[in-house]
Symmetry: C2
């Protein structure tokens, strides 16, 4: 596994906890069945370009060995990826509308995702950087409870949990170092239509550092009263938006772990790489493009993004 | 009238042609009646911070002398602002929805705006920089026909003309040096949902340089195959979005006239100042905030925008 060398520092290890799933996906471009999906799958593969990743999650007896191999091919430590042989891997079937801005959930089978997960493997609870990828807030809190001496925790979430597990989600937000959310979720959770006011409200609700993702319009980073805005990398080959946010989060904290820094400049660099990586994810079904991209394509998109926002 | 000195060059004069109107506006924040409006009013006042502006338009006998004085207070040459004493000034009454993203037209009285306009005053047809602010494409073409030796023409438009005067609008686009349009209009006119593909299509349709405005998400500049993206200046005091696009266009070409340059770097600077000026316009009804801002507030927003997009 070849990693992107951003600075001449030994990267810190990163723990990625979240869902590992199979998806059936229908888009205007085609359909795919039993595709490798889940927040932790995308996030771990994205982060693997930047640092050593420890994957924590739970799959069922139906999970294919070849899919575990895909993580291992990216030098991802799968010691913390447990198998419940009697259970079924979390399954989601969804369909995207013509313009990809909306999707319908056609079927969800939670499978092993209803169960509490085995504890983190010995040593993993002291990983310095941790990503709580999108998951039930109660499961995110269970991971937080096990951490010892972690330096930085990034938490991601989704609309479903704002509806069904608001109090637990707010607890996650208060305990995380950085919270990532998309624009409609920020409006939903804060009750503010204006994103700047929504961000202010989310910080009052406990977010320390906040990133609001805006899809094709890029992302906003709120840090200690300062604002950084970055456009998206232009995408003309949108094939499957699934996992864009998860790989954004994975690359984001992967870069922080690689830099071993979490100051405003480090966060800006993390957002730059995260934006580049997310733009690759959506160009193919599942994790395919994310896996195949390689460090050259990521670096090229970072150069292009820098050029796109360069002011004279 | 104090101007913003961007470079140590004598600014080139700018001709601004478009509508000068009265608006009744209803917003969630309040209502205003017989407010100074119209594309050329906003654009001329915005441009006046950067260069000498010659305003061309037609008003009715009801147009108040005090509103002409508002232009003169900004050192705007009103020789080309004709009065048809027997006619009525173009009037629009509209209402904005709760989130300001949509508006309803409640009443339109075209008044003198149905008539052909008197020719440009002597000398104005040779103005080096010209803004065709949003107006009937046939009236924009009539101004284009009079121009002699103009270096750069920026044309703006709106959805109404895509529906009702598509062929004339396409003629305007082909003759302009730069065309400005908002995101939903770009999709509508090009038939492409994806903004990058929409821009490509609009360039095939004849746009030489293209700016797509995205409201709170900023703007995109397409120039000779290159892309520049700038976020919006954050607005938390949205009071009346009317005229944001017109003042964006006015400031944009005002800066080009001030620089006497139209290369990619000059266009980027123009977009930076245009974004700052547009963010002021929406903080009050009508042109009020735009007129009162002064060069200090514009310069401060430019500094903030630069800081917001600065990468380490």
């Amino acid at each position: 596994m070849q990693r992107i060398q951003i600075v001449d520092t030994q990267p810190a290890p990163l723990l990625v906890s979240g869902t590992v799933a199979y998806d059936d996906i229908i888009t205007p471009h085609g359909t795919g069945t039993r595709l490798l999906g889940g927040s932790a799958s995308y996030a771990a593969l994205a982060a693997s370009y930047f640092t050593e990743v420890r994957l924590a999650g739970l799959v069922g007896g139906d999970f294919a060995a070849r899919d575990i191999q895909r993580f291992r091919d990216h030098a991802i430590d799968t010691t913390g990826l447990h198998t419940d042989a009697a259970g079924e891997t979390f399954f989601w079937r969804g369909s995207y509308h013509e313009n990809y801005n909306q999707r319908d959930t056609l079927e969800t089978r939670l499978g092993v995702n209803t169960r509490s997960r085995p504890p983190l493997p010995p040593g993993h609870e002291a990983t310095p950087f941790v990503l709580l990828a999108n998951d039930a807030p109660s499961l995110q809190l269970a991971v937080l409870d096990q951490l010892r001496g972690t330096e930085f925790v990034l938490a991601d979430s989704m609309n479903l949990w704002i509806e069904t597990a608001r109090e637990d989600l707010l607890r996650v937000i208060r305990h995380a170092s950085l919270f990532v959310i998309n624009d409609s979720e920020a409006v939903h959770l804060s009750g503010e239509d204006n994103l700047i006011l929504a961000a202010r409200r989310l910080c009052e609700m406990g977010a320390r550092i906040l990133v609001i993702k805006k899809g094709e319009h890029g992302a906003l980073l709120f840090h200690a009263g300062d604002l950084f805005a970055l456009p998206a990398h232009p995408v003309t080959e949108l094939h499957d938006p699934t996992g864009a946010g998860d790989s954004f989060a994975g690359a984001f904290i992967g870069v922080l772990a690689a830099l071993r820094r979490t100051d405003f400049d480090a966060l800006k660099l993390a957002m730059l790489y995260a934006t580049a990586v997310a733009s690759l994810t959506v160009e193919a079904f599942s994790c395919d493009r994310l896996e195949s991209a390689g460090i050259g394509e990521i670096a090229a998109r970072v150069v292009r993004l820098r050029e796109m926002v360069r002011l004279p």
